[in-house]
Amino acid sequence: AQSVTQPDIHITVSEGASLELRCNYSYGATPYLFWYVQSPGQGLQLLLKYFSGDTLVQGIKGFEAEFKRSQSSFNLRKPSVHWSDAAEYFCAAAAYNQGGKLIFGQGTELSVKP
């Protein structure tokens, strides 16, 4: 069955520290991969996406993610976290032949310490 796993439910980092959020997927073939952010009272916002090509993708707000086929992973990173990055982060995947139907991980809640 197709699935997306985010192993960390909650992560706390200090402001200015680096961040890595983990995501693993299980699909028959490499899916399209996405990271979304959800802030309280806000809708889901796309941070970045991977379809093919360069395995390191850049997104908005200084985020990047690296696709590793051998590990079935698509981890999200940021070199220096800002207090405004505190939010819920979702990894999602879509099979190429399913019309964009997204399967989401359960999310990682990020807290930022001053």
């Binding site: 009272g41 889901l44 379809f51 964009g100 997204l102 989401f104 999310g107």
Partner: protein, 114 residues
């Protein structure tokens, strides 16, 4: 331009009642998606429209759930004989053509079944 809008933002109903949730997609977007997000979980796919037709309704949990998009724009998600387990945030998203195109999410409708 306007984003995806959903009405109502909150809906409280009693067990056994019928509810309708409305989604107004971004103008010109042909693909429309419904997801359901339970507390502490990632969004879960319900149904996908391409134009007026439901291209994939595999996520609808049972026959109490039904969705329509009669003119290829506004969509309504209908839930009959609501149960307490239906309580969740119902999210709508639209994209320009489905597939791997970015989905833009609305703020959601929070449904509470008492």
């Amino acid at each position: 331009g306007a984003g995806v809008s959903q009405t109502p933002s909150n809906k409280v109903t009693e067990k056994g009642k019928y509810v309708e949730l409305r989604c107004d997609p971004i103008s010109g977007h042909t693909a429309l998606y419904w997801y359901r997000q339970s507390l502490g979980q990632g969004p879960e796919f319900l149904i996908y429209f391409q134009g007026t037709g439901a291209a994939d309704d595999s996520g609808l949990p049972n026959d109490r759930f039904f969705a329509v998009r009669p003119e290829g724009s506004v969509s309504t998600l209908k839930i009959q004989r609501t149960e307490r387990g239906d309580s969740a945030v119902y999210l709508c998203a639209s994209s320009s053509a489905g597939g791997y195109n970015e989905q833009f999410f609305g703020p959601g409708t929070r449904l509470t079944v008492l």
